[in-house]
Symmetry: C2
Subunit: 766 residues, 2 copies
């Protein structure tokens, strides 16, 4: 208890990546029990890995300041040119990948459906099922094998991880080239395998990976780096590139350039500047142009089974929209349904994910097994359920062939006699894009039975829930749009007497309401849907339905991406401070032992500390004779220490040799390397003799880290931490005459787990 009382005086600590190693520290450091020894790990794929915080602070050490001041105009010009070139390349790359994805899926799925359809036309229903399910399982295994063995990080949507990255949490290999490769092909195989998954989330992840890959300048291993790219070797510029990439991904997936920008802004990015808006906009414009020209090229029929659809994917712009009060009430009703279903969907996804994570943890073979089971389930549903439906005679005067013979087609004959089609089969037994297009066609052109829509909705709702979380790249947008459009159309048919709106518009609004209920985005969803459907007159109705569904769903739980971020254990920081933080002050939450260095420190000490702690920042304290009293010189980063130690500029005596170090090293030696690429502790070869020598830390010490006084409320400190995107925030004492630093706050200290673990009596009331 005596130890505890002196806590305010001596219990200084650093806790970034609080790891097991810390407990090995020598006894005097350990003043208080580290009750809350959670490591900073997260689930990536199915494995838990240590994660790293990103750092957007401007490091002001001698080396970097020298670099700044000597930076010539030509270098600034190089930087600007490169910035825009990279934006262009990200746009081009993502556009091409998006098109390739589309092309491959349409061809593979189209071919699969064509073959199955041919069997069915010959009444060989058994063979048809075997072919269909067989194709699906093969494709599913291909996708799952890639995910399980090559890059587990590529499973799932990818949007939560990108969201966390842009919030400052770097999970390893989430942006690695292997992940990019698996994401592209896994997504193609997964979607072509007929799973109820979309390509939108994976496209966002792909865009981000492409941005990261280009910003890295390829791989250093293969000597593919480029000198100019040194400007981008820091977290800030990487963040900007990845924001562009995420926007480009949405733009490519939905062919919605403005929607892409807004998505990046509303959902993905945590920090935003006007200049970034401008660059992101450029990237998505490039994507739009690339897609448009390639689709124009495909119009000539050179793309195999590649389907219809220009830049506007689901053109509903045929019916004139006018609406009155009953219509508005119907739309509000739809919004409420969307909110309820949306939050229920999120609840189920969360539960299923928890179960799946147990299965997936058991190894790659279990992952693949799970994928096979779900694939068979999906095949059974999409092949079996249409048998429930009655046959409908083909409408006369149809531009399209009915029943369909060639390609994937939209009037499936299925088990029906000639000149009849099965309306449930045109939804189930089809690509998702075509199914959505069918649901969005106007009521006069295509009629669906009540039972058809109901069966389809229930099946898609359940399949969507059980599919997300298996080891394939899986987007959430398409299942949600499908389910939403089907219940929207159902409600539209139901209220046909009350409302004058066409059922196609109800389908669109249904999709909007369900999207609003699950994803909880507003402006970006609105614009994406407008760009998807090319119907600006729907805007006020769409806004209304989104507002209502989001508000209703917010009563029950959080958005699906936020849920997944939390489930994966990524320490996401909200832009506002939590209310309970107002009851605590900064010094309340800094825990664990503080390790600090002298301005000129012994090599042995540094190595020992680096070995036994996982801290990423250490305060440097100048003591007599270098100052009159102990004073905080600044903060030194682990990565910088490692580079400095590798350079071996040691001295026998405790002397300052700063100028020599600044002459030997260049700022770019200390630039942040790509994830997992910097100098590692094991790379250092320090002799016994060197262990007794000293090194001057001044040149690499950030002399002006951001500081707060210990009495500042945690809420206010959190705002500072979050707004500036910090990794370390120094807490200094209020009164003079005490050690110059109380502790360091890191991202972990602001997490509810940590804070509420320390103070269980504080209730996190919302």
């Amino acid at each position: 208890m005596e130890d505890c009382s002196c806590r305010d005086e001596n219990d200084l600590e650093i806790d970034d990546n609080k790891e097991h190693g810390v407990s090995m520290l020598t006894e005097p450091f350990l003043v208080r029990n580290r009750k809350n020894n959670t490591s900073q790990v997260a689930i990536v794929g199915a494995n838990t890995c240590p994660i790293e915080s990103l750092d957007y602070e401007i490091v002001e050490n001698e080396l970097f300041k020298q670099d700044w001041r000597s930076r010539k105009k030509a270098e600034i010009f190089q930087y600007v040119v490169l910035k825009w070139t990279l934006a262009l390349l990200i746009g081009l790359g993502t556009g091409l990948v998006g098109f390739f994805n589309n092309l491959a899926v349409e061809n593979i799925a189209g071919f699969k459906l064509l073959v199955t359809n041919n069997f069915m036309l010959k009444d060989k229903y058994y063979q048809a099922f075997v072919t269909y399910a067989g194709c699906n399982v093969v494709l599913a295994i291909a996708a799952a094998a890639l995910c399980a063995y090559v890059a587990p990080a590529a499973a799932g949507s990818g949007i939560p991880e990108i969201k966390a990255y842009l919030n400052g949490v770097d999970a390893p290999s989430i942006l690695a080239p292997a992940t990019l490769f698996v994401k592209i092909f896994g997504s193609i195989f997964g979607v072509a395998a007929g799973f109820v998954v979309g390509k939108e989330g994976p496209m966002v992840h792909t865009g981000a990976c492409i941005a990261s890959f280009l910003g890295q300048g390829g791989s250093r291993k293969y000597h593919l780096t480029w000198k100019w790219l040194r400007y981008f070797k820091n977290d800030r510029d990487r963040r900007d590139l990845i924001t562009c990439g995420a926007a480009a991904g949405v733009a490519a997936a939905f062919r919605a350039p403005v929607g892409g920008v807004l998505f990046a802004l509303e959902e993905a990015a945590s920090w935003w500047r006007s200049a970034l808006l401008w660059r992101t906009f450029f990237t998505t414009a490039v994507v739009a142009v690339v897609l448009r020209s390639l689709i124009e090229f495909c119009r000539t029929g050179k793309c195999g089974l590649f389907g219809q659809g220009g830049l506007i994917m689901f053109d509903v712009n045929s019916t004139k929209v006018t609406y009155s009060l009953p219509d508005l009430l119907a739309v509000m009703f739809l919004g409420v349904i969307g909110g309820v279903f949306g939050s229920f969907y999120n609840y189920c996804v969360d539960k299923v994910l928890r179960i799946y994570s147990i299965i997936n943890e058991r190894g790659p073979s279990f992952k693949i097994l799970l994928v096979i089971v779900i694939s068979l389930l999906t095949s059974c549903c999409s092949y079996g359920l249409p048998w429930l439906s009655q046959c409908i005679p083909c409408p006369p005067d149809l531009a399209e062939q009915c029943p369909t013979e060639s390609r994937s087609g939209n009037y499936k004959n299925f088990q029906c006699p000639p000149n009849h089609y099965n309306d449930l089969a045109s939804l189930f037994f089809n690509t998702s894009d075509d199914a959505i297009r069918n649901l969005f066609t106007s009521g006069s052109e295509k009629e669906f039975h009540f039972s058809t829509l109901l069966v389809f909705f229930v099946a898609i709702f359940c399949l969507g829930i059980v599919t997300y979380g298996i080891a394939i790249p899986s987007g959430l947008f398409i299942p949600v749009i499908l389910a939403g459009a089907s219940y929207g159309r159902f409600v539209g048919k139901l209220l046909a007497l009350l409302s004058n709106l066409d059922v196609s518009l109800f389908a669109l609004l249904g999709a909007a309401s369900f999207l609003g209920g699950t994803m909880r985005m507003t402006v970006s969803l609105c614009v994406i849907l407008l760009e998807l459907t090319n119907d600006l007159l729907m805007l006020p109705l769409m806004m209304l339905v989104l507002l209502i569904s989001k508000s209703v769903a917010d009563i029950f739980n959080k958005g699906v991406y936020d849920q997944i971020v939390k489930l994966k254990g990524l320490p996401y920081m909200e832009s506002h401070a939590e209310p309970y933080m107002k009851h605590l002050i900064a010094s309340d939450v800094v825990t664990g032992p503080l390790v600090s260095f002298s301005g000129v420190e012994k090599i042995g000490n540094i190595l020992h500390v680096l070995r036994v702690t996982r801290h990423n920042g250490f305060p440097v304290i100048d003591e007599p004779p270098y100052s009159d009293a102990p004073e905080l010189c600044g903060l030194v980063l682990r990565t910088h220490l490692l580079v400095l130690l590798k350079g071996k500029k040691f001295t026998k005596q405790r002397v300052k040799i700063g100028s020599e170090i600044t002459r030997t090293f260049k700022a770019q030696d200390f630039a942040k390397a790509g994830s997992g690429k910097g100098v590692k502790l094991e790379d250092l070869e320090i002799t016994e003799e060197e262990m007794e020598m000293y090194i001057d830390l001044h040149p690499i010490t950030n002399t002006s880290p951001y500081t707060v006084v210990e009495t500042m409320s945690l809420a206010k400190a959190a705002v500072l931490f979050r707004q500036l995107g910090l990794r370390h925030l120094c807490v200094v004492p209020k009164t003079p005459g005490r050690p110059p630093i109380v502790g360091i706050l890191t991202r972990h200290d602001f997490t509810p787990e940590h804070v509420l673990g320390l103070y269980p009596h504080i209730k996190p009331h919302k």
Copy 2:
């Protein structure tokens, strides 16, 4: 020189609102010559007024902390309900005002044109001109008189002022009820008077004024405040409301709800959060619904001369867009023209504004005289120039009447024989909305001569330049759209052989290019134009043209709103630090004498300091016996001091009576009053006896102000200051044992004028 050398030790200072009074301070405080004694003033209307910085810092003094902790759930609920109610009311109010504006302009201008037209049909050209010019001058005088005598702050666009407000600069009376009144009616009269001005900028200002008015809960003078509104008596919540208001303004002006949100985000707001996106979106959705229902109501013919146009103002969605490489080249060419013209326009506006400000400064009568001159010039142009044009035979099979007899109409007979019309008159002799609609009609429907377009472009370009800056509420969007659309159509006609695009699309792209060249917005302009014209397929072309025109124009100068902000002397802070700031440290720029208080201070001292300085924040330093050594207790605000002094909780002795003060006062007594409404120094009545007494400042001292060390680079300090929206940033010494505060940085210290005034050798290279 000796004084200078001890600067680091003693030259502590505060400089917010650096005013003349400072030099009256007693000599010992004045250590260094205040070379740079510029007052914080700006031009509002034509007068220079002192401005105030806004403060978004969380003030953590005892009173406020007590308030936080005691805040009940019910109060949080009240706050949330009120927040959304206010958003709803802002939407409703702005929607109604926007509609009223439209209605009034259409009716007044329509009537004016109708009367003039009737004279012309009877060949009474002289009477027609007199009527026309007379109406214009009368309306112009009405607008100018309102601006000159009632609210000078209502002149001009208003967007620069709102932009500055949202950046943290509060110019007095810019959001006052009188300004709101004048802005609404001045804009109606100004637009109806046929000036080449738009209603868009004024609508943004109006929206912001409505938001401010509602947030204030009316006027305290008339006992119209409401208890619940106390939650909004701080700069943060006001900022959010005004952001919503600005977005609602754009939504109402262009009937573009998504565009409004994006405008607020891209151009207006300096700080942004996802939560605000959501609320702003709600507000603009309300505006859209209000406008739509009112326009629907007007379809029944109950709105007099109110014209056509649903929620989509200029519907060009008739031609199918397909484009090839030559089209793209033509569009790029248009972008370059737009960039060059746009920057030239900005250059001219800047020059003309400088000349006008000299005239306007001379008094209200000069302002009105200037308005009359410009009004006559405009009348002469719009009546005189159409005579240059040849008569065109009316096209056969026209739905519209030709030549026009009733209402404003679009086929002006003018001087032509029956069954002919004058194409230049259909542009000039019309409301701006109709002129734009004419320019956007497809080429097959309406043909304009080359000469017509050229004359119209030159006239509008010049009139637009000379009109902005006169004492009427004047938007910049409409002149720019008009000029852009005319040269776009001109280029389209010129390149008709090369390009397959319709001239109407060229007109639209021309308008986009000129807007991009002047305003330098991207995403928001793009979305506004899409919502205006309902043509999503134009998106990639529009993006291309905006990107090029902005890039080209950025070579020459800044955007027109940034220019005006600078011209008006509003100390706008960019989100990035200027390059020259990297060469300076925080202590380099803190100038002037520092005035600080003791924890328990003599009333006389406080009053003296309040009287002779204009500072808004004072450091409180605890000295023995309240602490072992002098330590920084915190920061106290002028407004809080005034409230405290008014309460007269004085003591005879130098003792701490904190708890008594916290019992007497409530946090809401210290809540920030509306602009110019708080306790003033003159309101205090302190007796001679009381002057010798003491007061305890601890309960109102913000004990955790944000601090930086003196050696931090100015660039890094600027990032902190700007990101957190501070008013005061304390600079503390690096080494212990010195006075606990070096100085306080304010907005003024980051302005180039101040910094480059102190260090003229530093070049502000871009």
